[in-house]
């Protein structure tokens, strides 16, 4: 029981665990770098250290720390018995687990907000893939049943749930307020509980103690939320009648656990397949989102170039479409946004790797809070932020470990990421860093960078990233020294080393034989089209069902995300281009108006 151990023991445990976790991190990277010849002694050291952490957590009733360290210990056990190889993917998953453990120990008295679900799924996925059936049984199978208020989760062993279901019972969540449902009905808690138990089995229950508050906060007669997980042979309607409930107070949860009895499968096989199902679903979702983003771009491009006549009806329909576009944009904004910490943790990993390879001590503490950002922006931030952080690490002259901090703040439509020294009382060599390359990469995201030096704080680097951006995914192409980005949505194929025999000339128009058809070639410039015969690469486009080709000088097959900047007024009349954008190297690329191109098919 957690109250038998005093505060001091807990503090000692936390301190020792933190120290141990630091060592474990280094040892994991060492293990990864050993490649094929792993020194089992290192693996065993980590396993042993993890075991001690887990035991201590169990004794102190630190449930989350215990559960997570158990899962990490299981994976390490597999590595020690040579059933799992510590490749970078495995080490990454372990490091994510260690990161979360660090956060849990830092906030040991108040880690309600930190959950271990993501890390648990990843770690269990590793074990499920490897363990043979008999040993799998000993790994506890617990099912989460969340309470509708989103604050609590019942964690019940699947074995118990299966037993209940096999007895033909239904499982419900009952939501009570002890003041309203018991006190004000002149009832006592004891009678109330016995009454409920007459109609079913209370598998578990929980008070929302936070809502009840402290002695100062609690006012006489305020609510006391109480949730019961009940197994009963009665139906929902019958229970409402028997227990005198309002319909909103009862929620059946059979659908959440139905898979436990149909079909009868090995629970670990199920977990393994659910991990790969989850993985597949993630890739499917990613592809679906990419497609949605591309569709949105196509729609926006059409709208942008739609003529705005003074005619009432056409401007009304344009206004209607604009509203649709805006709403779609808002929806997509939510889909594209993820928790910044989910992507930016990789910066921490990169710094760890750098420190390991340079044989120094350097860490970066990421304080992202609950800030959400567009995933595409986050992915592009990792490299420049890593480079900037490493440059700031190199600025320090002391032998002491360098501790940096990345904090994030939101200001209307801009998010600021600030990298600063956590221990600024060390000597740094210069008052600023040379980061022109990183700046170019940030400019390509419409972001900017600012360096400030203060004698008491040292160097601080602030990166401001606007949230309202228009991102087009496309392929970079070079035609006559102009750089274009052709939208992915419109590009069907790209060809190189063109067979000269496949060209066909008809008066002043060219076509190329591709996939059983002759596709017309569009002249993107105003010069003579026969010039294009000398280009040996072709990009095959499709707009509104119409296919055509554009001859190019250079072609990048890897797609990139272009952050579009609107054209100035002087360029707005240009029929060929619709937007321009910056590339990572500072160059300017143009987004062609695909409508214009398709209309040039002679």
């Amino acid at each position: 029981m957690n109250n038998l151990i005093d505060r001091e023991t807990k503090d000692i445990y936390i301190e020792e665990t933190n120290q141990s976790l630091d060592d474990i991190e280094n040892q994991l990277i060492t293990l990864e770098n050993m490649g094929a010849d792993i020194d089992m002694a290192v693996a065993k050291k980590i396993f042993h250290a993890m075991h001690i952490i887990r035991n201590g957590a169990s004794l102190l009733s630190l449930t989350k720390i215990k559960d997570l360290s158990q899962k990490i210990e299981n994976v390490l056990g597999l590595i020690c018995s040579n059933r799992l190889s510590p490749n970078p993917e495995v080490i990454n998953i372990l490091l994510q687990g260690i990161d979360r453990l660090n956060q849990l120990t830092d906030q040991v008295d108040n880690n309600e907000d930190l959950n271990i679900d993501e890390q648990s799924v990843l770690l269990t996925g590793l074990t499920s893939a490897v363990l043979p059936d008999d040993i799998k049984q000993s790994v506890t199978e617990v099912r989460d049943i969340p309470v509708p208020n989103g604050k609590h989760i019942f964690k019940i062993s699947e074995f118990n749930l299966i037993q209940v279901l096999e007895q033909g019972k239904n499982i419900y969540i009952l939501m009570y307020d002890l003041i309203k449902d018991v006190q004000e009905k002149n009832n006592t808690p004891l009678n109330f509980v016995r009454f409920v138990q007459r109609h079913g089995e209370m598998i578990d229950s929980v008070f929302d103690i936070k809502s009840i508050g402290t002695l100062e906060e609690q006012e006489f007669g305020s609510e006391m939320p109480y949730f019961v997980l009940l197994a009963s042979t009665l139906s929902c309607e019958q229970l409402i009648k028997e227990l005198d409930l309002q319909p909103y107070q009862i929620k059946p949860v059979n659908n959440v656990i139905a898979d436990l009895i149909h079909p009868k499968t090995d629970p670990h096989q199920k977990e393994l397949s659910s991990t790969s199902i989850a993985k597949n679903r993630m890739t499917e979702n990613k592809r679906r989102l990419e497609k949605l983003n591309a569709l949105f771009c196509e729609l926006k491009f059409s709208m942008d170039k739609m003529p705005c006549r003074l005619d009432n009806t056409s401007s009304l329909s344009k206004a209607r479409l604009q509203t649709v576009l805006l709403n779609l944009h808002d929806l997509l904004y939510q889909e594209n946004n993820v928790l910044a910490s989910k992507v930016l943790w990789k910066i921490g990993r990169n710094i760890r790797d750098y420190a390991y390879q340079s044989n120094i001590k350097a860490t970066i503490d990421l304080q992202c809070g609950y800030i959400m950002m567009d995933n595409r922006i986050l992915c592009r931030l990792i490299d420049p932020l890593t480079a900037i952080t490493i440059k700031m690490v190199r600025l320090v002259q002391d032998i002491e470990p360098v501790q940096l901090c990345l904090s994030m703040g939101k200001n209307e439509d801009t998010i600021a990421l600030t990298i600063s020294y956590a221990n600024p009382h060390m000597i740094i060599k210069k008052t600023h860093i040379d980061c022109h390359d990183e700046e170019k990469k940030l400019h390509a995201l419409s972001a900017d960078l600012k360096q400030t030096f203060e004698s008491d704080k040292g160097l601080t680097v602030e990166i401001r990233v606007p949230q309202k951006v228009f991102i087009v995914s496309g392929y970079r192409v070079k035609i006559d020294n102009y750089c274009y980005i052709f939208p992915k949505f419109n590009v069907k194929d790209h060809l190189a080393n063109l067979n000269p025999l496949k060209w066909s000339e008809n008066d002043s128009s060219f076509s190329f034989y591709h996939e059983d058809h002759f596709i017309p070639i569009v002249n993107i410039s105003n010069s003579d089209i026969s010039y294009y015969k000398n280009k040996n690469k072709l990009i095959v486009c499709e707009v509104g069902g119409q296919r055509f080709g554009v001859a190019v000088d250079e072609l990048e097959t890897k797609e990139l995300d272009a952050f579009c900047q609107s054209l100035g007024k002087q360029l707005a009349e240009n029929p060929l281009i619709i937007y321009h954008c910056l590339l990572d190297n500072g160059q300017i690329a143009f987004i062609p108006d695909m409508d214009y191109l398709v209309n040039r098919i002679s």
Partner: protein
Amino acid sequence: MVSTQKAEKDGKVDLATFYVGEALCGMDILKIQEINKNMEITSVPNSPDYVVGVLNMRGRIVTIIDVCQKLGLLKSQSTDTQRNIIINSQNEYIGLLVDKVAEVVKAEWRKVTPPPSNVRGVQGKYFEGVYKKENALIAILDVEEVLKDENVS
């Protein structure tokens, strides 16, 4: 009519002066964001002659206009003295490519007279007025008029 209205301002003004072809022009220095000699201008395909191209100015893409050509003179020669004058017009940044930048001149609006119909080959409509300084005549540019689209009546 229009030219007299333009010249009816009060107080003092600092004029940044520069050469457009042979004409010595001026502009209220407060309208200028910066002057730079960044010539890494990317040309824009299918654009009119007076659009020199676009420039990456610290992450912002700025269109650069050759003022000479826009005003109907011959294209300015690429020389070392060319500069971009970055101004803000109707909420966007535009660069004016000029041949040579000269000094800042302190002037008073009441001493500015309406422009003649022709200043060194450039139509008078492009100027707010002229200011006489010692031996030189500074033609104060009406930037909005310069940037106006010729095709719009």
